[in-house]
Each structure stands twice: as C-alpha cells, then as structure tokens.
C-alpha cells in the first residue's frame, strides 16, 4: 500500500478547493464583511497534529451543500440548563400485554456485533428490550458497554410510553443498538 505524502496530497487538493470556494467566499464576504477580515489564506502541507490546522481560511461554500448562515456573532444566544428530572419518572401506567420478543438483526459496529431483541404491545409500542449481543472482545468496547448497555435498555423502555417516530443515538454501540431496534420497529 503506497501512501501518498501529506505534502503532495495537500498541494494537489487545496488549491482546487480554493478555486472552488473562491466565488462563494467572495459573496459571503459581502454579506459578512467583518467576519473573516482577519483571516488569511494559507496553503500548508504537513500537518502538525497539535495545531488546529487552517488550510484554507475562507468559508468554502459548495455549490449544492450550502453552509448555514451565521447569525450576528456579537449576540450569542443565551443557554438554558435543564437539570435531569429524577423525581418525575413516568407514572406507572397499566401496561398493555407485551408480546413475545422479536430478535433484531446483528449489526456490526467498529467495536463488534450488536443485536437486540424487543417485545412490542399490540400498538407496536416497545415494552421490553434486551441486548442479545454486545461487543466485549476489546477493552474499549467493554468500557463503552458498561455504561451503554443498561442505559439504553431503560431509555427505550421509558420511551415506550410515547409514540415515537425515530430515535437519535450517540455512541457507536448505541448506533448499532438503535439500528437493531429500528429494524424491529420496521418489521413489527
């Protein structure tokens, strides 16, 4: 496997991107005259991993992937903190009958295979979830699982009281978990 040197790759890539982004950057500069005023265009090759590299210091707007427009940076939006709600766990609802567990497919993640099974109510609300397989052959995987497995279990159960259209998850294992669960929802 021949590895291209960083220098030659960068020299070939970034000038092209500079050209591609130049006109869009110009238009953007008209809209935001001060935002990038202090920036300079620098074309560098080798990357120092300790330095946040800025190869091309203009906002390169692709032709079809249009970047969102920043609002006035002088007025950052306030941030609201919501404490975790521990005391208002969902009230015990008379649960409808939970169907027999259905096994989802095995989803291969970077850390190994993930597979869940889930039971559904007649309304196709998730009422029981358990993991059939989770990665455990790797230290990192174990660490991830140690918090991911029980958390996601209860998460999904809590969500079972709601009619949800989809789930957004975080870690790679949870993505596998969510994907496996999504498959069950897809086929229930």
């Amino acid at each position: 496997m021949k590895q291209q040197t960083p220098v030659s790759l960068a020299r070939r890539v970034w000038p092209a991107l500079a050209v591609a982004g130049a006109s869009a950057a110009f238009v953007s500069a008209l809209d935001h005259p001060t935002q990038f005023a202090t920036d300079t265009v620098s074309l560098t090759g080798a990357v120092d991993p300790n330095t946040p590299a800025t190869l091309l210091s203009v906002p390169a707007l692709a032709t079809t992937t249009v970047a969102p427009v920043p609002v006035d940076p002088a007025a950052p939006a306030p941030v609201a903190t919501v404490p975790p709600v521990l005391s208002t766990a969902p009230p015990a609802v008379a649960a409808p009958a939970c169907g027999a567990p259905i096994a989802g497919p095995v989803v291969n993640t970077r850390w190994g295979p993930v597979q869940v099974q889930a039971g559904l109510t007649p309304d196709r609300v998730v009422c029981d979830v358990s993991a059939l397989q989770t990665p455990n052959s790797h230290n990192r995987s174990v660490r991830i699982n140690n918090y991911a497995k029980p958390i996601l279990h209860d998460r999904v159960l809590s969500a079972g009281n709601a009619r949800i259209n989809g789930v957004s998850g975080a870690t790679i294992t949870s993505r596998g978990y969510v994907a496996s669960l999504q498959y069950i929802l897809d086929h229930a």
Partner: protein, 263 residues
C-alpha cells in the same frame, strides 16, 4: 399531538455499516414506495462506494493510495472535501477530514450528507411525508399525520431513570455525536475543550443537533461535541440549529431555542 398516526409503509436496508430505514406516511401503493426507496438506496450505495475508507476500490481509498488525483475525482468528492474544509475552518479545527498521516477520511461528514441526499431523492420521487434514518441520524419530511409533528427520542447515554427527552419537529434533521466517535475525525482543540473540563463542568457524553439540514446537523454535532460545553454557543450562531448536550453528571444543557417536549 392529535390523532393517531397511520402505520407507515416501512423499508430498510443494510448500508454504511448500519441500517437505513424509510417510513412513508403517504397514501401510495407499495410499488410506488418501493421504486422511490430503491432509487434512494441505490444513490446511497453509489455514495458509499465512492467514500468508504473500508473499501479498497472506493474513490477515497484510491486517492489515499495516490492512484487518483483528487482533481479527477467525481464532483461529489470535491463537494464533500470543500464542505469539510469550510467546517474545519468554522470549527477552528475541531473537525477535520484529514488524518494525522495526511490521508483524507471524510467519513465523519459523509453519513449525514449522504442521508440528506437520500432523503432528497425520496422527495424527488414524489414522497411527501416520510422519515429517513441511518443509524441514529435522521431526517423527516412533511408530517406523520395531518397537523402532527414528528416525535424523535434522544437516547440518553447515562441516566436510565430519567424520562427520555424527546423533540418534536416539522421538516428537519436530528443528529447525535458521542464519546466513542472521536477517533478519526474529531480533533480536540484546546485546554478548555471536552477532555476533562475544569471547574464544575463535566465532560460531555453526547451532543445532539437539530436543524433543517442533516448534513450540517450531523457535522455540527461532530464538531461541537469536541468543543465541550462551549459547543452549544457555537451551534447557536447558525440560524435554525439548536443543540442539546448531556454530560457525565447527567446534566442536560440546551441552546435557548431548543424545542422539545417531555414524553
């Protein structure tokens, strides 16, 4: 929420190392939905073939081996690398599509971007009301029932006893980044980043971004997660984008305009 959702027509496929799902709430017959979904999934397969670093014959792999000049790459590759460059700049280096050895790996950007392209193909095929999701990043279009918003649950990485937070959105996207995704495409940028913050701010475990575009919701979640708590303000500067961060103490912090409803 008002009224029951009709059961959607559902399709899925293994894709990009996970599973892509499409739920269609239109009054269409199976054949129409199948045609639209097949078209969208074919597009995603094509993009995966182009971008996957796990496939030796992908365009990215060819570029990284020096067999293909990136200037000769398909326009999609140029578009993605261009957008990655913008994001690297806009995030002050928190996001980067370049590995430390100089090779390129835009995987942290491509999934959301590709998923959005897939959703656009579904819309172009005539679907009006649908959800399209790949491994926890999702995009919704239209509404699941007349007058009804989409409800999307956010998986909490830590607290099993807390009610799952959910958000209700109209057209738009939801993407989440988490601790195990750092490896290839997130670069921590300063002493005040998301390693172990000083003071009483604890490390973030997950960062969810909601916004009109999945490309940018996913990209912002990836970059902002690396920034730690200050990633919230960073996301808030972009019109239409809101974020919710969950830290190791179970604290949940959101941008001011975040729309959510408890379940």
């Amino acid at each position: 929420m008002s009224g029951p959702s009709l059961s959607p027509l559902r399709r899925n496929a293994r894709l990009m190392g996970t599973i892509a799902s499409v739920h269609v709430y239109d009054d269409l017959d199976d054949g129409q939905v199948d045609d639209a979904v097949s078209d969208a999934l074919a597009e995603l397969e094509r993009l995966e073939q182009m971008f996957s670093t796990f496939r030796a014959d992908s365009v990215i792999s060819q570029v990284n081996r020096g067999e293909l000049n990136v200037l000769d790459a398909p326009h999609e590759v140029i578009e993605v690398l261009d957008a990655c460059t913008w994001l690297e700049h806009a995030s002050n280096g928190a996001f980067s599509a370049r590995r430390e050895d100089g090779s390129i790996d835009p995987a942290g950007f491509v999934k959301g971007w590709a998923c959005e392209r897939g959703a656009a193909r579904l819309a172009a095929s005539g679907l009006s009301n649908f959800m399209f999701t790949i491994g926890g990043d999702l995009m919704v279009h239209g509404e699941p029932a007349p007058g009804q918003l989409w409800t999307v649950a956010i998986a909490d990485p830590l607290h099993p006893d807390v009610v799952t937070r959910s958000i209700e959105i109209a057209d738009g996207a939801v993407a989440t980044s988490g601790t195990s995704e750092r490896g290839n495409h997130i670069r921590l940028v300063s002493a005040t980043d998301n390693r172990s913050n000083s003071d009483n701010e604890s490390q973030l475990l997950s960062f969810t971004v909601v916004g009109p575009s999945l490309t940018w919701a996913d990209a912002f979640a990836t970059a902002a997660f690396a920034m730690g708590h200050k990633g919230l303000e960073w996301v808030a500067q972009f019109v239409g984008y809101e974020a919710i961060a969950i830290d190791a103490n179970g604290g949940v912090t959101t941008t001011a305009g975040f729309t959510h409803s408890s379940v």
